[in-house]
Assembly symmetry: D2
Homo-oligomer: 133 residues x 4
Amino acid sequence: MFTLDIQPRFSDTDALGHISNTSLPVWFEQGRTPIFRIFHPSLDVKTWPLIIARLEIDLLAQSYWHMPVEIRTGVGNIGNSSFQVVQEAWQNGKQIARGVATLIHFDYENEKSVSIPEAIKAELAEHKVKDTA
Amino acid sequence: MFTLDIQPRFSDTDALGHISNTSLPVWFEQGRTPIFRIFHPSLDVKTWPLIIARLEIDLLAQSYWHMPVEIRTGVGNIGNSSFQVVQEAWQNGKQIARGVATLIHFDYENEKSVSIPEAIKAELAEHKVKDTA
Amino acid sequence: MFTLDIQPRFSDTDALGHISNTSLPVWFEQGRTPIFRIFHPSLDVKTWPLIIARLEIDLLAQSYWHMPVEIRTGVGNIGNSSFQVVQEAWQNGKQIARGVATLIHFDYENEKSVSIPEAIKAELAEHKVKDTA
Amino acid sequence: MFTLDIQPRFSDTDALGHISNTSLPVWFEQGRTPIFRIFHPSLDVKTWPLIIARLEIDLLAQSYWHMPVEIRTGVGNIGNSSFQVVQEAWQNGKQIARGVATLIHFDYENEKSVSIPEAIKAELAEHKVKDTA
């Protein structure tokens, strides 16, 4: 799995004193950067080739501002033009969230999905998380 | 269903030129305010009685900054201490997203879930969305 | 002055229980929409003609999530290619912030400032706030 | 000066393709963490002793998502109960922003400012930026 250390920002918290649930999608998006690079090494936003179709997040424990969070990122099911990214967030030795994002290989100009090239499928498969066969 | 008009903010967009996927959880959270009021009419954050356990969002179409978005909010399954909120986002006559949030009636002091009182269950049931019986 | 009603979002708060200072720049940006329209009626982001050079915000009182905020927006000094936007934020009858943003009429393709056309200067001048002569 | 490496998040960008001006206050707030620690080593939000009174940011160059940003943080003028934090943001060898935040030593319970203890003033003075006498 790819790992990314996130430093929670003060504005990631909300008035309940903990990290806002709305920060997890932001952190998980950031954790997907190595996946983005597989499709698009330049990361140039003008020619971005992916769109997100679905996100699911289970919030497993409260999390807090002043401790780092580790985001772990792997690949789930791989379809013809879409695939899943499977993620976990850990803080202070405890899993605080898990997430699944469904991404589509996408042509923004024609607004339609595009098959994932075989070479990319093979590279994605190297990062497959075992338990989502 | 409850409805809320959201004015997308410029900072809700991202470098792809459209609304960021990370803004939908923010908008849906805001759309849940009438649900929060059923549990907690004062909305006082110091005695807040709910925590979110899960969010699922399907992103159905790209959305944009300069047009309002309508958030529609109803209730799904109601359990002993948890229940679902079922939501839709519409922009310019088109559904752009649907979401399901699982909320838990929660005691922050003791960090544990609490049964939902019958009176509140009855009030939630009045806002039940038909097709999630 | 132009006025805009902002509904604070739960994620605009932070762990101190009040609205984050980082939400004010977001709200003020949203309040500048009528100014953006003077330069760019379509609001199309692909041909956006303004860039921000400076922002100053005085935070005058704590503000909270569950009450609307009114943003009042006028024009300050008007230069050759830049001008100031002068703003206030009010909640529950109390001024919570004031802000001044310096915007530049900007050509993103050539990355340089552009003179503000006389017709636009005249329109901006109609919204001038008296005490910033 | 204290330095902090910020990894811009995808949601820090906006539809103009660059980093939103509204992200700079968030990054600068995060860069103030070592200053917060001088006043409040535990960083416990329930007993937080500071409030922000003013922020000024000059945006000097466009910045982008896929490169890290370094935030440099020092201390400016130190008054009886308030002081200034002077900051810079650098990306790819170029200064993209400078900022000044005015913070007040604050008693949230009684909602009033409090003198800064001499020991803290002395510690702040060690981090003073030369050119803001």
